[in-house]
């Protein structure tokens, strides 16, 4: 349990309250307590704050019949209790990306998250190798029966360690990608999920039951309604592993979306230029250079406001 550090006056105020409530030796304690209270304005202040925190609401609750008061004593909601890091990784303690918990009992549960401009490679407990693009959030839910990665946003490439008894599944908002072999990419987009098979094969499926097997080099887009095979090689989608963004022929909008996880603040693309087509290879780790390159080659103007707001509009 996390403990917020309180100041010394606060800790003393609390200790006094604990003593005064005990129901023992009250007279002697009272005198000492008043001495403490008068000693330092900080003490009086801390005491006041503590009393505020124990105030009014309890007055109201005191009037209630016991049966109603006892509503406060329900067992607490199943907020995750097990939060463990893997291999010393920074794990987000607050469960930022709290999703639906798997119903299984004791699963190894950990939230992995990469921030702006941060890529990460890590080994999962089964020996699989997980690469996270910047701005990615994943839950790891391994049980005796399966290995499940829940992708909430961003993109990952997984190199699956073989384990015949435990299928390996990456679950996005739209559906599942189940490893039939080893290495593949899953990317959560706003309304769809892209699955790109880099080696061997993957079975993509929707909650409704539709499925499609993809072989190495093949890719598909999972939407709520269907699985659309994508034409041509999509392997370049994993180029973020090497720190660059390869664009064959895509709207500016999509290119900026790929840059977003690498740039703090807000990037806004004006509607007139969203559909401009872009080709090229751009550095991800230097989004400023990428924007400059785009500005040079396209009829756009990039305006920056204090480093946090970037506007891209028609020149």
């Amino acid at each position: 349990m996390s403990r917020t550090a309180l100041g010394p006056a606060a800790e003393q105020a609390i200790a006094w309250m604990v003593r005064l409530r005990s129901g023992r030796d009250e007279a002697r304690q009272q005198a000492q307590f008043h001495q403490w209270l008068a000693q330092d304005p900080a003490n009086a202040q801390a005491w006041e704050q503590l009393q505020r925190g124990m105030g009014q609401h309890y007055e109201v609750a005191r009037q209630a019949p016991d049966a109603l008061r006892d509503t406060l004593l329900q067992p607490s909601i199943g907020r995750r209790e097990v939060l463990r890091g893997i291999g010393g990784l920074g794990v987000v303690g607050g469960a930022l990306w709290l999703g639906v918990r798997s119903e299984g009992g004791r699963v190894l549960t950990a939230d992995l998250r990469t921030g702006t401009g941060e890529r990460r490679i890590l080994m999962l407990p089964d020996g699989s190798r997980l690469s996270l693009n910047a701005g990615t959030a994943v839950d790891v839910q391994f049980t005796a029966g399966q290995r499940l990665l829940r992708l909430y946003r961003g993109a990952l490439v997984i190199q699956v360690a073989p384990d015949a008894s435990r299928p390996f599944i990456v679950r996005s908002e739209q559906g599942d990608a189940r490893a039939l072999g080893t290495r593949f990419l899953v990317e959560q987009q706003a309304d769809a999920t892209r699955v790109v098979v880099l080696e061997h094969a993957v079975r993509a499926s929707l909650p409704g039951g539709a499925w499609l097997d993809l072989a190495a080099g093949q890719a598909a887009l999972l939407t709520r309604k269907r699985i659309e095979p994508l034409q041509g090689s999509q392997a370049y989608r994993a180029d973020w592993l090497e720190g660059h963004l390869s664009v064959l022929d895509e709207p500016l909008d999509a290119v900026v979306d790929a840059l977003r996880p690498y740039r703090p603040g807000v990037i806004r693309v004006s509607p007139q230029v969203r559909q401009l087509r872009v080709q090229g290879v751009f550095p991800l780790d230097d989004s400023e250079r990428t924007l400059a390159a785009l500005e040079e080659t396209m009829p756009i103007r990039v305006r920056r406001f204090g480093g946090w707001v970037t506007l891209i509009e028609a020149r």
Partner: protein, 178 residues
């Protein structure tokens, strides 16, 4: 600090425009994010709107938020969690209310006040183990001495003292001035 007047004066977007951009850039995403956790659409919309309201109410300058989505998600998560707690509390309250003889049941106005108070207490004691809450409420609501609490809960008086310390820390935090 005005010592270095910049050659190019920084273009400043007015606060309202900044908020407008911030809202339009993230609203859709936030709504989707929230909907993954709340299946009920109006609830999700409420939560997304409430998240932005909190930012406006707190006069946060969106340009100073380093990771807007993580930030929004954190606020939304608290709101969602709060909403869950509140629902559960109300549910339990109503179940108990129905079992009470009519003479003892609070009036609708009293119920409203009481639910508010119970929710505030529930919120302030969130995360504490059940036995800690029990010990604290026996002292705080019933004014029982530790000897009696220790007898009822089957723990030592020292343990009751430790439970009290735990609960009071949270009370202290919720006593901070807004």
């Amino acid at each position: 600090m005005h010592s270095h007047s910049p050659l190019v004066s920084p273009v400043s977007l007015s606060d309202t425009r900044k908020l407008g951009f911030f809202f339009s850039d993230h609203h859709r995403w936030l709504l989707q994010h929230v909907r993954r956790q709340l299946s009920n659409r109006p609830d999700a919309e409420d939560t997304a709107a409430e998240t932005f309201c909190q930012i406006i109410a707190a006069r946060v300058d969106p340009a100073t938020i380093e990771q807007p989505r993580a930030y929004l998600a954190t606020i939304a998560r608290r709101l969602i969690f709060d909403r869950h707690r509140r629902r559960r509390l109300e549910q339990a309250y109503l179940e108990r209310l129905m079992m009470l003889p009519e003479a003892l049941a609070p009036s609708p106005e009293e119920t409203h006040l009481l639910l508010e108070a119970l929710h505030a207490i529930d919120h302030s004691l969130a995360g504490l183990p059940l036995v800690v809450k029990k010990a604290f409420l026996l002292s705080q609501l019933d004014g029982l001495p530790y000897a009696e609490i220790s007898r009822r809960l089957g723990v030592s008086e020292r343990t009751v003292g430790r439970y009290m310390t735990q609960a009071l820390r949270q009370c202290y935090l919720s006593g901070a001035q807004p």
